[in-house]
Symmetry: C2
Subunit: 149 residues, 2 copies
Protein backbone atom coordinates (compact mmCIF):
# COMPACT_ATOMS: atom_id res chain seq x y z
CA UNK A 1 0.00 0.00 0.00
CA UNK A 2 1.62 3.23 -1.15
CA UNK A 3 2.12 5.98 1.40
CA UNK A 4 1.97 8.90 -1.00
CA UNK A 5 -0.61 11.49 0.15
CA UNK A 6 -2.71 11.15 -2.97
CA UNK A 7 -3.14 7.38 -2.65
CA UNK A 8 -3.18 7.08 1.14
CA UNK A 9 -6.96 6.87 1.40
CA UNK A 10 -8.89 4.11 -0.40
CA UNK A 11 -9.82 6.68 -3.03
CA UNK A 12 -13.27 8.22 -2.94
CA UNK A 13 -13.36 7.58 -6.63
CA UNK A 14 -12.95 3.83 -6.34
CA UNK A 15 -15.47 3.77 -3.53
CA UNK A 16 -18.07 5.51 -5.64
CA UNK A 17 -17.39 3.48 -8.73
CA UNK A 18 -17.39 0.16 -6.96
CA UNK A 19 -20.76 1.13 -5.53
CA UNK A 20 -22.01 1.58 -9.07
CA UNK A 21 -22.06 5.35 -9.03
CA UNK A 22 -20.54 7.83 -11.41
CA UNK A 23 -17.79 9.81 -9.82
CA UNK A 24 -18.74 13.48 -9.86
CA UNK A 25 -17.36 16.45 -7.94
CA UNK A 26 -20.57 16.75 -5.93
CA UNK A 27 -20.56 13.14 -4.85
CA UNK A 28 -16.89 13.11 -4.02
CA UNK A 29 -17.25 16.26 -1.95
CA UNK A 30 -20.34 15.10 -0.06
CA UNK A 31 -18.91 11.67 0.64
CA UNK A 32 -15.63 13.19 1.78
CA UNK A 33 -17.41 15.58 4.07
CA UNK A 34 -19.61 12.89 5.60
CA UNK A 35 -16.58 10.69 6.15
CA UNK A 36 -14.61 13.50 7.73
CA UNK A 37 -17.40 14.41 10.14
CA UNK A 38 -18.26 10.80 10.97
CA UNK A 39 -21.61 11.70 12.54
CA UNK A 40 -25.10 11.99 11.10
CA UNK A 41 -25.41 15.35 9.32
CA UNK A 42 -28.62 17.18 8.52
CA UNK A 43 -29.19 18.99 5.25
CA UNK A 44 -28.36 22.34 6.85
CA UNK A 45 -25.03 21.10 8.08
CA UNK A 46 -24.11 19.83 4.65
CA UNK A 47 -25.30 22.99 2.95
CA UNK A 48 -23.25 25.15 5.29
CA UNK A 49 -20.03 23.23 4.68
CA UNK A 50 -17.58 25.36 2.72
CA UNK A 51 -16.83 22.66 0.21
CA UNK A 52 -20.53 22.06 -0.49
CA UNK A 53 -21.92 25.57 -0.27
CA UNK A 54 -21.83 26.03 -4.04
CA UNK A 55 -24.01 22.99 -4.74
CA UNK A 56 -27.65 23.44 -5.61
CA UNK A 57 -29.85 22.18 -2.79
CA UNK A 58 -31.64 19.76 -5.08
CA UNK A 59 -28.29 18.30 -6.04
CA UNK A 60 -27.48 17.92 -2.38
CA UNK A 61 -30.73 16.07 -1.74
CA UNK A 62 -30.20 13.82 -4.73
CA UNK A 63 -26.59 13.18 -3.86
CA UNK A 64 -27.44 12.15 -0.31
CA UNK A 65 -30.08 9.81 -1.67
CA UNK A 66 -27.74 8.33 -4.27
CA UNK A 67 -25.03 7.65 -1.70
CA UNK A 68 -27.55 6.05 0.62
CA UNK A 69 -29.14 3.89 -2.04
CA UNK A 70 -25.69 2.76 -3.08
CA UNK A 71 -25.02 1.69 0.49
CA UNK A 72 -22.16 4.09 1.18
CA UNK A 73 -24.12 5.99 3.76
CA UNK A 74 -26.96 5.40 6.21
CA UNK A 75 -29.60 7.77 7.47
CA UNK A 76 -31.65 8.44 10.59
CA UNK A 77 -34.62 10.67 11.28
CA UNK A 78 -33.75 13.18 13.95
CA UNK A 79 -36.16 14.66 16.48
CA UNK A 80 -36.75 17.64 14.22
CA UNK A 81 -38.13 15.32 11.57
CA UNK A 82 -35.25 15.70 9.13
CA UNK A 83 -33.05 12.99 7.69
CA UNK A 84 -29.46 12.83 8.77
CA UNK A 85 -26.83 11.02 6.74
CA UNK A 86 -23.67 9.42 8.01
CA UNK A 87 -20.89 7.71 6.10
CA UNK A 88 -20.25 4.14 7.11
CA UNK A 89 -17.17 3.96 9.23
CA UNK A 90 -16.28 0.46 8.12
CA UNK A 91 -17.48 -0.90 4.86
CA UNK A 92 -19.00 -4.32 4.68
CA UNK A 93 -20.66 -4.28 8.08
CA UNK A 94 -23.70 -6.47 8.07
CA UNK A 95 -26.17 -3.87 9.22
CA UNK A 96 -24.37 -0.57 8.98
CA UNK A 97 -26.87 1.49 10.95
CA UNK A 98 -27.67 -1.10 13.57
CA UNK A 99 -26.88 1.16 16.47
CA UNK A 100 -28.69 3.86 18.45
CA UNK A 101 -28.04 7.55 17.82
CA UNK A 102 -27.70 10.37 20.29
CA UNK A 103 -29.09 13.80 19.44
CA UNK A 104 -28.36 16.96 21.39
CA UNK A 105 -31.56 18.97 21.50
CA UNK A 106 -29.68 22.19 22.00
CA UNK A 107 -26.84 22.25 19.46
CA UNK A 108 -28.51 19.76 17.15
CA UNK A 109 -25.45 17.55 16.81
CA UNK A 110 -26.01 13.87 16.49
CA UNK A 111 -23.59 11.04 17.03
CA UNK A 112 -23.65 7.32 16.46
CA UNK A 113 -23.66 5.15 19.55
CA UNK A 114 -21.60 2.45 17.96
CA UNK A 115 -20.75 -0.50 20.08
CA UNK A 116 -24.37 -0.96 21.14
CA UNK A 117 -26.82 -2.80 18.98
CA UNK A 118 -30.53 -2.20 18.75
CA UNK A 119 -32.68 -4.41 20.94
CA UNK A 120 -34.68 -7.24 19.50
CA UNK A 121 -38.28 -6.15 19.42
CA UNK A 122 -41.03 -8.70 19.07
CA UNK A 123 -44.07 -7.48 17.23
CA UNK A 124 -46.99 -9.83 17.55
CA UNK A 125 -49.58 -9.51 14.85
CA UNK A 126 -48.01 -10.75 11.65
CA UNK A 127 -46.08 -7.64 10.74
CA UNK A 128 -42.99 -7.94 8.56
CA UNK A 129 -40.22 -5.85 10.06
CA UNK A 130 -37.95 -4.08 7.61
CA UNK A 131 -36.10 -1.68 9.88
CA UNK A 132 -35.96 0.13 13.16
CA UNK A 133 -34.29 3.08 14.71
CA UNK A 134 -33.62 4.26 18.20
CA UNK A 135 -32.82 7.87 18.92
CA UNK A 136 -31.76 8.96 22.36
CA UNK A 137 -31.88 12.69 22.97
CA UNK A 138 -30.76 15.13 25.57
CA UNK A 139 -27.93 17.56 26.15
CA UNK A 140 -24.41 16.80 25.07
CA UNK A 141 -21.58 17.47 27.45
CA UNK A 142 -20.53 20.70 25.79
CA UNK A 143 -24.01 22.19 25.89
CA UNK A 144 -24.57 21.00 29.41
CA UNK A 145 -21.42 22.69 30.66
CA UNK A 146 -21.86 25.79 28.57
CA UNK A 147 -25.42 26.70 29.45
CA UNK A 148 -27.67 25.96 32.35
CA UNK A 149 -30.16 23.07 32.28
Amino acid sequence: MPASPAAAAPSRRDLLRSAGLRCTPAREAVLAHLARQARPLAHRELARARALAALDRVTLYRTRAALQEAGLVHRVRDQAGAWRFCAHVRRGERCPANHPHFLCTRCGRMRCLTGQTLPWITVRGGERITGKQLVVYGLCRGCRERGAR
Copy 2:
Protein backbone atom coordinates in the same frame (compact mmCIF):
# COMPACT_ATOMS: atom_id res chain seq x y z
CA MET B 1 -69.92 4.50 39.68
CA PRO B 2 -73.04 5.54 37.78
CA ALA B 3 -73.98 3.61 34.67
CA SER B 4 -75.87 6.36 32.90
CA PRO B 5 -74.46 6.94 29.39
CA ALA B 6 -73.60 10.58 30.05
CA ALA B 7 -71.50 9.90 33.12
CA ALA B 8 -70.10 6.51 32.17
CA ALA B 9 -66.78 7.86 30.93
CA PRO B 10 -64.52 9.87 33.23
CA SER B 11 -65.66 13.00 31.40
CA ARG B 12 -63.36 14.60 28.85
CA ARG B 13 -64.19 17.84 30.49
CA ASP B 14 -62.84 16.87 33.90
CA LEU B 15 -59.78 15.37 32.24
CA LEU B 16 -59.01 18.62 30.47
CA ARG B 17 -59.71 20.81 33.42
CA SER B 18 -57.72 18.74 35.85
CA ALA B 19 -54.83 18.99 33.42
CA GLY B 20 -55.09 22.75 33.67
CA LEU B 21 -56.65 23.29 30.27
CA ARG B 22 -59.77 25.17 29.32
CA CYS B 23 -62.42 22.90 27.98
CA THR B 24 -63.20 23.86 24.41
CA PRO B 25 -65.01 22.00 21.64
CA ALA B 26 -61.78 21.59 19.69
CA ARG B 27 -59.91 20.06 22.58
CA GLU B 28 -62.73 17.79 23.58
CA ALA B 29 -63.11 16.56 20.02
CA VAL B 30 -59.39 15.97 19.44
CA LEU B 31 -58.93 14.23 22.77
CA ALA B 32 -61.98 12.07 22.18
CA HIS B 33 -60.76 11.10 18.73
CA LEU B 34 -57.26 10.25 19.93
CA ALA B 35 -58.69 8.17 22.75
CA ARG B 36 -61.06 6.35 20.44
CA GLN B 37 -58.32 5.49 17.93
CA ALA B 38 -55.76 4.56 20.60
CA ARG B 39 -52.84 4.68 18.20
CA PRO B 40 -50.46 7.47 17.22
CA LEU B 41 -52.20 9.68 14.66
CA ALA B 42 -50.52 12.02 12.19
CA HIS B 43 -51.87 15.46 11.38
CA ARG B 44 -53.49 14.18 8.19
CA GLU B 45 -55.36 11.50 10.04
CA LEU B 46 -56.71 14.01 12.52
CA ALA B 47 -57.61 16.51 9.81
CA ARG B 48 -59.50 13.87 7.86
CA ALA B 49 -61.61 12.81 10.83
CA ARG B 50 -65.23 13.87 10.37
CA ALA B 51 -65.51 15.41 13.80
CA LEU B 52 -62.35 17.46 13.29
CA ALA B 53 -62.60 18.38 9.62
CA ALA B 54 -64.06 21.80 10.39
CA LEU B 55 -61.15 22.86 12.57
CA ASP B 56 -58.54 25.20 11.21
CA ARG B 57 -55.26 23.41 10.75
CA VAL B 58 -53.45 25.85 13.01
CA THR B 59 -55.95 25.11 15.73
CA LEU B 60 -55.31 21.43 15.23
CA TYR B 61 -51.57 21.92 15.58
CA ARG B 62 -52.01 24.06 18.67
CA THR B 63 -54.51 21.68 20.20
CA ARG B 64 -52.21 18.70 19.74
CA ALA B 65 -49.42 20.67 21.37
CA ALA B 66 -51.60 21.80 24.27
CA LEU B 67 -52.77 18.28 25.01
CA GLN B 68 -49.23 17.01 24.88
CA GLU B 69 -47.79 19.73 27.09
CA ALA B 70 -50.58 19.07 29.57
CA GLY B 71 -49.54 15.43 29.66
CA LEU B 72 -52.76 13.99 28.27
CA VAL B 73 -51.09 12.76 25.13
CA HIS B 74 -47.66 11.65 23.98
CA ARG B 75 -46.02 11.98 20.60
CA VAL B 76 -43.58 10.13 18.37
CA ARG B 77 -41.80 11.09 15.18
CA ASP B 78 -42.73 8.71 12.42
CA GLN B 79 -40.50 7.67 9.54
CA ALA B 80 -41.97 10.38 7.35
CA GLY B 81 -40.71 12.99 9.76
CA ALA B 82 -44.10 14.02 11.11
CA TRP B 83 -45.27 13.99 14.70
CA ARG B 84 -47.90 11.50 15.72
CA PHE B 85 -50.00 11.96 18.84
CA CYS B 86 -51.56 9.27 20.95
CA ALA B 87 -53.79 9.56 23.98
CA HIS B 88 -52.50 7.84 27.07
CA VAL B 89 -54.35 4.65 27.64
CA ARG B 90 -53.97 4.78 31.38
CA ARG B 91 -53.38 7.99 33.20
CA GLY B 92 -50.70 8.21 35.82
CA GLU B 93 -48.26 5.86 34.19
CA ARG B 94 -44.76 6.78 35.11
CA CYS B 95 -43.44 7.19 31.60
CA PRO B 96 -46.43 7.11 29.33
CA ALA B 97 -44.58 6.74 26.07
CA ASN B 98 -41.96 4.33 27.29
CA HIS B 99 -42.64 1.75 24.65
CA PRO B 100 -41.61 1.15 21.03
CA HIS B 101 -43.91 2.00 18.14
CA PHE B 102 -44.58 0.09 14.96
CA LEU B 103 -45.12 1.97 11.70
CA CYS B 104 -46.44 0.39 8.53
CA THR B 105 -44.55 1.95 5.66
CA ARG B 106 -47.34 1.19 3.25
CA CYS B 107 -50.59 2.27 4.88
CA GLY B 108 -48.89 4.66 7.29
CA ARG B 109 -50.66 3.35 10.36
CA MET B 110 -48.74 3.30 13.57
CA ARG B 111 -49.41 1.38 16.73
CA CYS B 112 -47.98 1.33 20.20
CA LEU B 113 -46.05 -1.75 21.19
CA THR B 114 -47.17 -1.59 24.77
CA GLY B 115 -45.96 -4.32 27.01
CA GLN B 116 -42.37 -3.82 25.91
CA THR B 117 -40.22 -1.13 27.41
CA LEU B 118 -37.42 0.72 25.74
CA PRO B 119 -33.95 -0.67 26.36
CA TRP B 120 -31.54 1.04 28.68
CA ILE B 121 -28.97 2.77 26.56
CA THR B 122 -25.68 3.83 28.06
CA VAL B 123 -24.22 6.96 26.55
CA ARG B 124 -20.66 7.56 27.62
CA GLY B 125 -19.46 11.11 27.30
CA GLY B 126 -21.33 13.13 29.89
CA GLU B 127 -24.57 13.60 27.99
CA ARG B 128 -27.77 14.21 29.93
CA ILE B 129 -30.50 12.02 28.53
CA THR B 130 -33.97 13.52 28.43
CA GLY B 131 -35.80 11.08 26.20
CA LYS B 132 -35.60 8.35 23.63
CA GLN B 133 -37.75 6.73 21.05
CA LEU B 134 -37.69 3.50 19.14
CA VAL B 135 -39.64 3.10 15.94
CA VAL B 136 -39.88 -0.28 14.26
CA TYR B 137 -41.15 -0.19 10.71
CA GLY B 138 -42.27 -2.61 8.10
CA LEU B 139 -45.50 -3.97 6.67
CA CYS B 140 -48.50 -4.59 8.83
CA ARG B 141 -50.41 -7.83 8.41
CA GLY B 142 -53.20 -6.29 6.38
CA CYS B 143 -50.86 -4.67 3.89
CA ARG B 144 -48.71 -7.77 3.69
CA GLU B 145 -51.69 -9.96 2.81
CA ARG B 146 -53.31 -7.40 0.55
CA GLY B 147 -50.37 -6.53 -1.68
CA ALA B 148 -47.25 -8.32 -2.75
CA ARG B 149 -43.88 -7.83 -1.04
